[in-house]
Symmetry: C2
Subunit: 244 residues, 2 copies
């Protein structure tokens, strides 16, 4: 019937106001906020309260705080890192498995590849080409740790879809996925297969063949999820019991 009277913390109001200024564009990325002392004066609160607010904004990736002279709080550029970290936390708490992650990727990334085939600009194609070339070179010089190269390709591809929402989602998933995988050193044939797959996907995108790009990507992800042992058949009844 009635709504509870919520007496928020003072820092919440500060967080809200700063957020609104950022989202409204009054504070573009890179722009400096006033110093803690000045903020405290403007908001008519103590430095402590201001700092509480800044800490929260920082942990949400909205600002970056630098110490020292000419330091202070600066509006951050959009980055998937804090999101990925929060996501990592949640998934660890929920005991989400690699299977969940792989399932999400198999669901999203093939379609992203298909969209990229329709929209990729010459710059995008060049970026993907560079990623593949770098992977080849690294492999030729004996670097068996090919994951960073693989990441570069997948990111370039997500860029090519020209949709920031999808880019961000793909980014977040990938960061988490590779963190989980960083322990494993891949077999040599996996690197070779990865490079070959990436090349095939790029070829399909160049040919503007969305369906082929999608199918190859799906194959690609399925193969690696099996090799990694996550589960080739993610819908096989290994689910956790419903918790309500």
């Amino acid at each position: 019937m009635f709504q509870p009277i919520r007496i928020a913390r003072a820092s919440n109001g500060i967080i809200y106001q700063i957020k609104e200024s950022i989202f409204a564009g009054d504070l573009p990325p890179g722009h400096a906020l006033p110093s803690e002392k000045e903020l405290a004066e403007q908001f008519r609160v103590s430095r402590i309260t201001v700092r509480d607010a800044l800490r929260v904004l920082e942990s949400q990736g909205l600002i970056q705080i630098k110490v020292g002279a000419r330091g202070g709080a600066f509006v951050a550029s959009p980055s998937a890192d804090p999101v990925s970290e929060s996501l990592t936390n949640m998934l660890r708490l929920k005991q989400a498995t690699l299977v969940d992650l792989v399932e999400a990727r198999i669901l999203v990334e093939p379609h992203v590849a298909a969209i990229a085939a329709q929209r990729a600009t010459p710059d995008d194609l060049a970026a993907m080409e560079r990623a593949i070339a770098a992977a080849r070179e690294a492999r030729a010089s004996g670097d068996r740790y090919f994951i960073p190269n693989s990441v570069a390709f997948h990111l370039a591809l997500a860029e090519a879809a020209r949709n920031p929402v999808l880019l961000f989602a793909v980014n977040s998933f990938r960061a988490l996925f590779h963190e989980a995988l960083s322990a494993l050193l891949p077999a040599d044939d996996m690197a070779e297969r990865a490079i070959a797959d990436h090349q095939k996907i790029l070829d399909a995108i160049r040919a503007r063949d969305g369906e082929r790009a999608r199918d190859v990507m799906r194959e690609h992800l399925s193969y690696f999820s099996e090799r990694v042992g996550a589960a080739g058949t993610p819908r096989n009844g290994r689910r956790r019991p419903a918790t309500g």
Copy 2:
């Protein structure tokens, strides 16, 4: 070659230790942490430093802080909300458009519906049923603002897919989408159509017909994106120029 010596904030160490305790299961959800004073003594730092750490943990959704006697920090139950908020923030920073959001939703949610058809538990079905019933009731009582009811259904459906990663993604997209839409008061026929669509989707899920659920969901989203004017054909060349 060499790694930089990082002199982190003291609060970072506290955050790390508490996180590890939570993830290790030493601190299950609902468990209370020591008071700020006790934590300050244990970590040999001031209360300020402890509070910085607690603020960050709270904003990441790992703990919940209650004031008053018997108050303090309690380990939170896993929730996608804070994570979704982070992603929503980033998308706002990136100035994602409605078109981008609609595209992402049309890409993800139909497949989520298909998965839900395979995995929905009786509880999940009941939750979706409740959401639809609530929407019907609200509409019968003259409440034309049906968006919250629609949200409830879509969330229940995402829950039914039993994949926390997908739940998180759907959650984040929807939050931003509805924020962008909150200005528009929907037409009456839209509410009716939405309820009917939801019912159809639920029927398909009950029948364990994933393909039908997927198709109806896709239709559902397409219809509303057109009505809302976001763009029925998201790939129509209105894209922003490549930024490199």
